[in-house]
Subunit: 230 residues, 3 copies
């Protein structure tokens, strides 16, 4: 099945040119909701519209995620792409490691496996020293030093469910996400351990200033369900 | 060893024609009791008599189950059959996944393995969206979309311990259950997360309106023991 | 890459001859800090200066440690060497066991694997009966009897990150530590279970009288980062 390039182009247009203007297909707010990607496809994804431009020298990205996909299957968990670069892609790799890539080679982490049960997954990075870590259910991985001095470029497209290739239309079913995502939040700074643990336990934390699940602007494409989080 | 067709026919008669009439072999109430299936057989099973007809468009089925059977062994966990259909069968598959089938192909879930320790296992399904999930020790699996619009048919036979085949007498030792089952309850609606967690922790929850372990009507067949739950 | 023998010699000089005299490269105090060894090298290490001579007939050594190194990789966790002997080396072995060596053959323990998340690891030994045990997150391993009557010799060099060979310059990248170490403390006696558990939970315990992380004198060499423990 081929993806419709016009559709992708529209998403890019909406996201990059009119990020704050509601469109007929755009929806707002996912409080107490879960995104369910029920099947493997090359056309189902959710475009997320950030509250501010993603020119970033630090960030915290958090989400709760569950999947039944087998361990050896590559899975895209988050994709932020500008015209020429994968600015910030988060993957579960074929070898089970969790990784992220900013404009080139990635950083790879050995974490407990994603499973059918929800995992609280956060990723923190700051440009000054390049310290990067994943946080699983509030516990930090070992730090890695990754791309000190780097900046993430603004004005791209953020997708859940698919990895947009360099060539528009290059969505691959075998990289797609199948499962559930909820409570995705993103901040343009590194949250402290206590804040990340508070988020894990659903206590009060500062609202994400890039993405705030409760007020998220998003566009559903293909076969994605929005269901109550019981 | 062959099963006695007349015996099965009697069970079917008792269960489907006289569900609320005590017989010499029927017993009532399993509060604080555990059913122990000590050996692999093709003749040991427990027939359960529901409190109401099982014409269902939603349900929650819960039980506590423990088994020492090896991971690669298929195990029937619950079988509800009408004349022509396996209406609701729950299995541990050869590949370790837990599954359920309603009149045809099944839905398969990767769960933590059943073990010699007791697992709280619930299954929820509702017909409208087809959302199906297992709950292990109060934690929900990833949702799967399974047979939206389907209805379970009434007037069948419910067995623990064996899978009744289309042809009467088709019980197979290599599918039988060996181990312990207790606290099986069933409701004709989907319990909330908090209710399922309450059940897991043995707090007070609404009594099952299809099956209530404390007042269960059941008939023992073959080699099944009723022992105190210490 | 070869190590510079002069550099090692300097370290030995600083440590053994001027242990309490600050030098231009010596630093003091690691309270709320973590040592990050980001890459595999044969030149990155931290020399630790003890508060008193390490002539020991008993000790408790504690640290919090995290590593992403694969399970089959040998890792040096602590190295204390005098001119002719490895006085006290702590290893994660190739087979995953954790071990320690005092002047010869070692003692090997099956512990939960070190991981990307922090493990609280203590080691206790006393010379009288030779009782030795590791403590993981406050839980004691089975005791082993190891070298009763033995004494650890004073006036050596303590390194984190590398294992100094008999021949100066014999640092091996494939034995080096990669990951994080924090809160290393050492006492010249065996702490009680309740004290070790208190330390694990970061409650108040007697300050280490050989090493006290908060007032630690240390010298960084090669590529080691001191970062805030968030």
């Amino acid at each position: 099945m081929n993806v419709n390039p016009a559709k992708i182009a529209l998403v890019l247009l909406v996201v990059t040119v009119l990020p704050l203007t509601p469109s007929s297909t755009m929806q707002v707010g996912l409080s107490e909701k879960v995104l369910v990607f029920p099947y493997e496809t090359d056309f189902s994804f959710v475009a997320l519209i950030p509250q501010k431009e993603m020119a970033l020298r630090a960030f915290t990205l958090c989400m709760r995620v569950a999947t039944e996909l087998p361990e050896e299957r590559q899975i895209i968990l988050f994709a932020y792409r500008t015209a020429d670069y994968d600015e910030l892609n988060v993957w579960r790799e074929k070898d089970g490691r969790v990784s992220f890539y900013m404009s080139g080679d990635g950083a790879f982490f050995h974490l407990p496996p994603l499973s059918t049960f929800r995992t609280s997954l956060c990723l923190t990075w700051e440009s000054r020293a390049g310290l990067a870590a994943f946080w699983v259910d509030g516990k930090r991985s070992t730090y890695q030093v990754y791309k000190p001095g780097h900046s993430i470029r603004p004005q791209g497209t953020i997708l859940l469910g698919q990895d947009p290739d360099k060539h528009l239309g290059g969505l691959e079913a075998l990289q797609s996400f199948v499962g559930e995502v909820t409570d995705l939040n993103m901040w343009d700074f590194v949250l402290s351990r206590s804040m990340i643990q508070a988020w894990h336990y659903k206590h009060k934390v500062p609202k994400g200033n890039i993405f705030d699940w409760a007020t998220m602007e998003y566009e559903l494409n293909g076969n994605v369900m929005v269901v109550d989080d019981d």
